[in-house]
Amino acid sequence: MSACHSPSRRDFLRLSLAGGLCWAASRAAIGAAADSAGSHSAQAKASVLVFLEGGPSHIDMFDPKPGQETNGPFKAIDTKIAGVQFSEHFGKLAVVADRLTVIRSLSSPEGDHDRAQVLLHTGYQPTPALNYPAIGSVVARETAVDDLDLPAFVSFGDTTGPGYLGQQFAPFVVGDVNNISPNLNLPEGLTETRVSRRLRAVQALNTSFGSRVDANTATDFSRLTVRANRFRQSPAMKTVDWAAAEPKAWEAYGGTNGDGNVARMFLAARRMLEHGAKFIEIRIGGWDTHTDNFNQVAALAGPLDAALAAFLTDLGQRGLLDQTLVAMFGEFGRTPKINGDNGRDHWNDAFSAVLAGGGVRGGQAIGKSDAKGEAVAERPVKVADLHATILSAFGVDPAKQYRTPDGRPIKLTNAGEVVREVFG
């Protein structure tokens, strides 16, 4: 089988063996059918997806329509990008807009939450015939190395799974940022000496099992135990009291605004990136604003605006922004028409995404929606194009093919084309 000799296949096997996943890999029988990289010079090594669950209102955020009745009560404010305005509730992001590319011409065929969330995560419309992998799983599959202190794909909040890539590329889901993993802490009274003694005893049993029964499996389990124990000790996996540990950052990230969980997720994400995480999803819910849209968006915007702006600045100062692609979007936008409950409903004919870092050329808006924000007017971007663009930041060819466990060749994106201007 020629695919066995391609570099990507070899890398995958190396990862599998080293990561202790060789059973899963052989069972899933995933093979890469292509291994060419994207054509522009790739620089992203990690990615953060800020997913605004529920469908954030594009007009009330990054695509205001001042003077139009669809605009609603929010004022539009100038940003660091000449001629590009944001809503007044994103003043901090406006100041760092020289780091941002705003795409204002997304559209999608899905207006149902579940289906659209799958589409925005996988780049494919959902079908019962095949489960497509979340982009976080694809990035983990393409980039992860063994000696990480923490899982390659971490998601704050439950998200779309690894699909046909198999569970070895599933996200490590953090259900509650105030308790990153309940099993990270040793039971009370258990000393490190006792833990080490137990672990040595496990390794001895595994070595014996390996010599009698199956050496690979024994190695896999010994490595897993060591890895899990290493993750337990990794500072990046600890739940941190940020207000006490980094009061200045806590303030800058907007921790004092609301319950502080948005700031906590971004700060934890920063720490995980510093420790080598490859893909982090931060899910922020509440954007399904069918009623009372404006008060709700204003309340949601505060913590998000502060945290994302501080996060980008912080990553920049730490020299991490160039290698970290940050993307923010939700499953669709919201109706330009304001409904009888002062709300906005689902709208998938025009919405926005924000990109930064990882080689993204800041300070630009790509594409336009029409005067009322109802339809795409210029430079349409499909969801598959957005995925192709994110993958290409990593040097991954969006047309690359994987094989599903039953042998079907499937492209990483659904004919997605890289939005070249993003990297300018």
Binding site: R27, A129, Q167, R194, R197, L224, G407
Partner: protein, 536 residues
Amino acid sequence: MAGCYLLVVSVLAQTAAPAIGDGPGQLDAALNQFYAASGITPAAAADDATFLRRVWFDVAGRTPPVAEVRKFLDSKLPDKRNAAIDELLASEHAANHFGRLWTEYLTDRRPFEQPEYNGRIVQNFLRDAWLEKKDYRQLVSELLAGEGGSDTSGPANFLLRYNAQPTPLAGAVSKKFLGLTMQCAECHDHPFTTWKRHEFWGLAAYFGRLRRMQPVEVPAGDQDQQAYVLVVERGAGELRIPDQDAKPDQEGKRPFKAVYPQLPGQTEAVVADGPANKSRRQPLIEWVTASDNPYFAKHYVNRTWQRLFGAPLVVSFELPPPGDKVSAFKAELLDLLTKDFVASGYDLAQPLRTIVRSQAYQRDAALPKASAAAQPQATTRAPAVSESQSRELLAHYAVRPLSADETFLSMAQATGYKGDFTDSEVSALTREDFGYDQATGAFSAVPLSVQRGLALLNSDHIRGACDMAAAATQRMFGPTPGPKHIEWLFLATYGRPPRAKEVEAMLKLAGEEDAPAGLHDVAWTLLNSAEFNTNH
């Protein structure tokens, strides 16, 4: 001795299996012939303890209880392996395991109560089918012909999983019962097969008269009634879909047209209705379960193989066969096992029974050391079959990590720990002795995943289980750790007695702490080891 024979006779009489045939012998003959032709030296037969633990996992989804291990190892009966297999296949454990696995397969979800349907009721239906020895054709016919209330009916809940709607049901029927991906043809002619769009819709139309009905007036706050749905089939009405051949109007919408039932491969839709009171679904059910349907029986056997060994014998019924020797042989094995299944009268347990009774299934995981050493010296030709292929062909057993359920159940079985499983309603319905929700919560993450690793290291479950195990051994054998404590812990977790060196090492470990803590550490060590966490 006479007493022992009596015991066996009574076991066989209880389980009175249908004609077993010589499936296992045929399977072994075919495999041995292939091994000989391909230069494969199969592994030696596994010892009794290894066999018993393996078959308990594959049939009952858990490690065997200490008493069963002792009884089996002490037994001198010549045919004790087959007797143990028959007893286990007829047990509630086997029925529960089948119910769990097939509910997950048929619904693509864990067998929980969901907003649209109750997976636990589907599971209960499947487990009862196993216990009642319902044949597979009957089982599938009942599932597809389902009508009734969501509070009790297994088939109705299966249909509700697919919203009792034509399109998802057509996809589910072709995929779950025939192993075909006709769903692709919902939107376009299938790219890799001959399935056409009209064939998919023809299939869907058989479900065109299904309706979900809910009570019109629900007393406020009555959760049960709010969730209650009745699945019924009406006597008239057709499935209507946008007519792709018609011209779209100004808004881009096409007029609707009725689609009529049509079986795949038929050239014309069946417009005329059948006799009065005959279900619209009946011709479809007859076609799906027909003895000359080339996929129906085969797919069940293929899935059973996959359940045991992680991959099916034939990857796809639709793609052209891969063309290599091993794939072609595996297709022959599937035919052989399918014939055996059909000859048994579609007995649900038959494929499993035939496979686990074979010598091939009962081999060691490790290849013989001598042959492994001899390989490099063979200068004549490269081996025609890779090691992973020879494992797929059962020349040596493929070690696999435990699932979440198997992990939790085995931990519970080995230690007596039940977590905080107090949901008597669930227990009454599914007659399961463990809480799925806990298994899902703590161990759902895949084998070898970090979450699983952390749960094994640090979770409350592992701590509770180790406490129970330590206390149990102290109750039975006294407060001070000795060889008997260690032996029991090995039997409970590994299903085998410890070696002398292992007793020594574990007693040393136990001696580092005070008695309960020391035994706790031994249990923890065993539960975290590769030997416990795999079926091998």
